[in-house]
């Protein structure tokens, strides 16, 4: 049996057989889902209802004040201020508006809303909108303009964006591509971090427990490193598969029982990834269901996702392994050594945002070709399809560069790893690691 395979098998089995693996794999998505559910529940589910008494002695609103789901107005003709105040104190109403007699729409300068408790920001804007609607209509009528005429004149025009080849670039498709690209890039970003650190910790464990020397007397350090990377990569794939299944299952359940949840989710400033996911699904539902998603080149996107997932993981995990081999007992050393590795990943996520809306901008093209950022950035461009988001030769070049980059980092990391894993006691700097990497074998 190939030695890389033996090492990979152990790395895979020891991780998968742990109880914590099952726990995190199954519980983590549940936890994240319930966490977001809670946030959404608290932010959007606060259905605090306000009842506002309106003492309109000037008959300004003429019963045109409409109520909505949170604010309801009730006219209390002829009420005086004192009794209004008592009503609020008794909590019969949450607040009141008092318009003295003789005020007209033209002469009105301000309206006072008096409440017992301070109103929330949403309540305030709701009241503002409702009053504005009513008053605007009144003002138009005062000028002898029929409000319905204005409504019919003010309409959103339908604009279809197309490129010169006649390909559909409608907003709905564009937004769906944007969301899909964003989700893809974001997932790869998470993968790089989670499994990269897992590789690093595995290497550190071998070094700290002093087993490295025993093993490298029977296996080449490079085989040990590759075995570890392969094994943990397999764990990642399995874990991701389970997560996708669970998320899909949960999604079905959630949509079944809480049909409004996704709409609510999209309106909340929760987290970019979730918003993107939410808005993508929103798009799907709003714009004729699956037809929008099917207008994207899904096989291409999925294929590229797997390619960039593997390429990015292999490229970065080798670097993470190199750092792990250079670290001694003190895990804090790892922090400073990791910085040069995490920088391009974070840089990639920054470019991703730009690239998802402007796939042909200079920085997006650069980011999708440069191997350290391309796994993340290319997802944004590929989601727009060929040639809307990326040209064929750019994609091929990017893939070739990623493969070259992965071979290059693995080769360099292998050399650092070989020296680092047997080096104890000394604090290693990047300068030294660089020297090891360039040293002749």
């Amino acid at each position: 049996m190939n030695k890389i395979a033996i090492v990979a098998k152990r790395e895979f089995l020891t991780r998968v057989q742990k109880k914590t693996f099952l726990l995190t794999t199954i519980l983590l998505p549940l936890l994240i889902f319930s966490f977001y559910g809670l946030i959404i529940y608290f932010v959007s589910g606060n259905d605090e209802k306000y009842t506002i008494a309106v003492a309109d002695e000037a008959n300004l609103f003429k019963n045109k004040l409409k109520s909505n789901s949170t604010i309801s107005f009730s006219e209390v003709p002829g009420a005086i201020k004192d009794s209004l105040n008592t009503w609020i104190r008794n909590e019969k109403y949450n607040g009141y508006i008092y318009i003295p007699a003789g005020v007209t729409v033209q002469s009105l300068s301000s309206i006072e809303v008096i409440t017992e408790e301070t109103l929330g920001i949403e309540g305030r804007s709701d009241i503002q909108d409702l009053i504005d609607d009513a008053l605007n209509e009144e003002r138009l009528l005062a000028q002898h303009i029929n409000p319905s005429l204005i409504d019919s004149a003010r309409q959103k025009s339908t604009i279809n964006f197309q490129n010169i080849d006649g390909a559909d670039q409608s907003n709905s498709k564009f937004e769906a591509s944007l969301a899909v690209g964003y989700i893809g890039g974001f997932l790869i970003y998470i993968i790089l971090f989670i499994y990269g650190t897992m590789v690093m910790r595995g290497v550190m464990e071998e070094k700290v427990s002093r087993i490295a020397e025993v093993i490298v007397s029977s296996v080449k350090p490079f085989e040990l490193m590759m075995g570890k990377i392969t094994g943990i990569g397999a764990v990642g794939l399995i874990q991701f598969l389970i997560w996708i299944l669970i998320v899909m299952g949960l999604n079905a359940i959630v949509v079944q029982f809480f049909p409004d949840l996704l709409t609510a989710m999209q309106n909340q400033p929760v987290q970019p990834g979730v918003i993107a996911a939410g808005s993508a699904m929103q798009q799907v539902e709003a714009n004729g269901g699956l037809s929008i998603l099917s207008s994207l080149n899904l096989p291409l996107i999925l294929g590229c996702f797997v390619f960039y997932f593997l390429g990015g993981y292999l490229l970065y995990s080798a670097l993470f392994a190199a750092v792990g081999s250079a670290v001694n007992e003190d895990p804090q050393d790892a922090q400073s050594l990791l910085l040069p590795i995490t920088m391009p990943i974070i840089f990639g996520i920054v470019i991703l945002i730009k690239a998802s809306s402007e796939p042909y901008s200079g920085i997006a093209v650069f980011g999708s070709l440069f191997p350290l950022t391309s796994p993340i950035v290319m997802m944004a461009r590929i989601a727009h399809g060929i040639p809307d988001g990326v040209t064929v030769w750019e994609l091929i070049l990017s893939m070739a560069l990623l493969i070259a980059g992965f071979i290059c980092t693995t080769w360099l990391a292998g050399k650092i790893y070989r020296t680092g894993i047997l080096m104890y006691g000394k604090k290693i700097t990047w300068k030294e690691m660089w020297k090891w990497a360039l040293k002749k074998s």
Partner: protein, 311 residues
């Protein structure tokens, strides 16, 4: 027949010459002591023999052929000084894993592990995690893992450190047994009394160079200073002869140093002629410890600590 031959091995690091032109041979079935102060280059030398490092110059012949780290892993068992095991892994699985890495097939490895575990009474450990073992127990496990695949060449770096006398003897007996069965053992240590006890042949390295090479007997002969300890039946006051100088006279016991042109029989005949009855007469040979200190002292290496052993 030589199991291992080193020819002009060199390994230079950026700051020092770790191994600077070392050559020696090791006979099959012998127990070989590789000695030297800390930082002398022993570990680097061993790492080249085990294929962890590549030499800058020179060549290594293993079992009559040029050493190939990839294919010869099965022929070598190495227990490094910095030893460790996966703490969270079960004892049996760990042994099996490491044996498979050496190149054994699963069934074969399983069988050998069982034999060894029975021999050292470790069967009950199989499902224990390594972190639950005591230091001595994990050392025993480490030893088993090192010799499990019946390597022709076994390299043990400080194998007895941390072992109680009982377990140390157990391991020592196993080492003898392995040597008798034809394995060759390279034994790297600072403990000179163990070397004297166990090793047939020694090499002393210092500052990357070989400074001594020979059997324990030859080395001692080489460094003896012709002194003898003589026990007398009755105290003798005035002893003087052309054949020897009296170094000390403590009632019944004399220490004498024989002059270059005389030999031990001249000493004996002096006492016989003077009718002084001798109870015992023995040559004082230097201990390896003394030889070691004599050779290493004064060099740069001496600034480092070295374990002192009373003989």
């Amino acid at each position: 027949m030589n199991i291992l031959e080193l020819h002009n091995l060199k390994k230079f690091f950026a700051t020092q010459k770790a191994v600077d032109d070392i050559s020696f041979d090791i006979k099959q079935g012998s127990i070989f002591g590789l000695l030297g102060p800390n930082g002398a280059g022993k570990t680097t030398l061993i790492r080249m023999i085990t294929g962890i490092f590549y030499q800058d110059e020179g060549k290594i012949m293993l079992d009559g052929k040029l050493f190939n780290p990839t294919t010869d892993a099965l022929k070598i068992g190495y227990m490094p000084e910095e030893r460790g095991l996966y703490k969270k892994m079960k004892v049996g699985e760990q042994a099996l894993y490491l044996a498979q890495l050496k190149g054994l097939e699963k069934n074969e490895a399983m069988q050998k592990i069982k034999t060894w575990f029975e021999r050292l009474e470790m069967q009950s450990w199989w499902n224990k995690k390594v972190e639950d073992l005591s230091k001595g127990m994990s050392q025993k496990l480490q030893f088993v893992i090192t010799v499990l695949h019946q390597p022709k060449l076994i390299i043990l770096d400080e194998p007895f450190s941390g072992l109680d006398p009982l377990n140390a003897n157990l391991i020592k007996d196993e080492i003898y047994r392995l040597a008798q069965e034809g394995s060759t053992i390279i034994f790297s240590t600072h403990r000179m009394e163990q070397v004297e006890q166990i090793c047939d042949h020694i090499v002393l390295v210092n500052l990357g160079k070989k400074i001594l090479d020979g059997t324990v007997y030859d080395v001692k002969q080489q460094f003896k200073n012709n002194s003898f300890r003589i026990k007398l039946a009755a105290p003798a006051a005035h002893i003087a002869s052309n054949a020897f100088d009296v170094l000390s006279n403590d009632n019944h016991e004399l220490t004498v140093s024989i002059k270059p042109d005389a030999d031990s029989n001249d000493v004996l005949s002096y006492f016989i002629q003077n009718n002084i009855r001798i109870v015992s007469f023995e040559e004082i040979l230097p201990s390896l410890n003394d030889i070691f200190i004599q050779l290493v002292e004064g060099t740069e290496a001496m600034s480092r600590a070295f374990q002192k052993v009373d003989n």
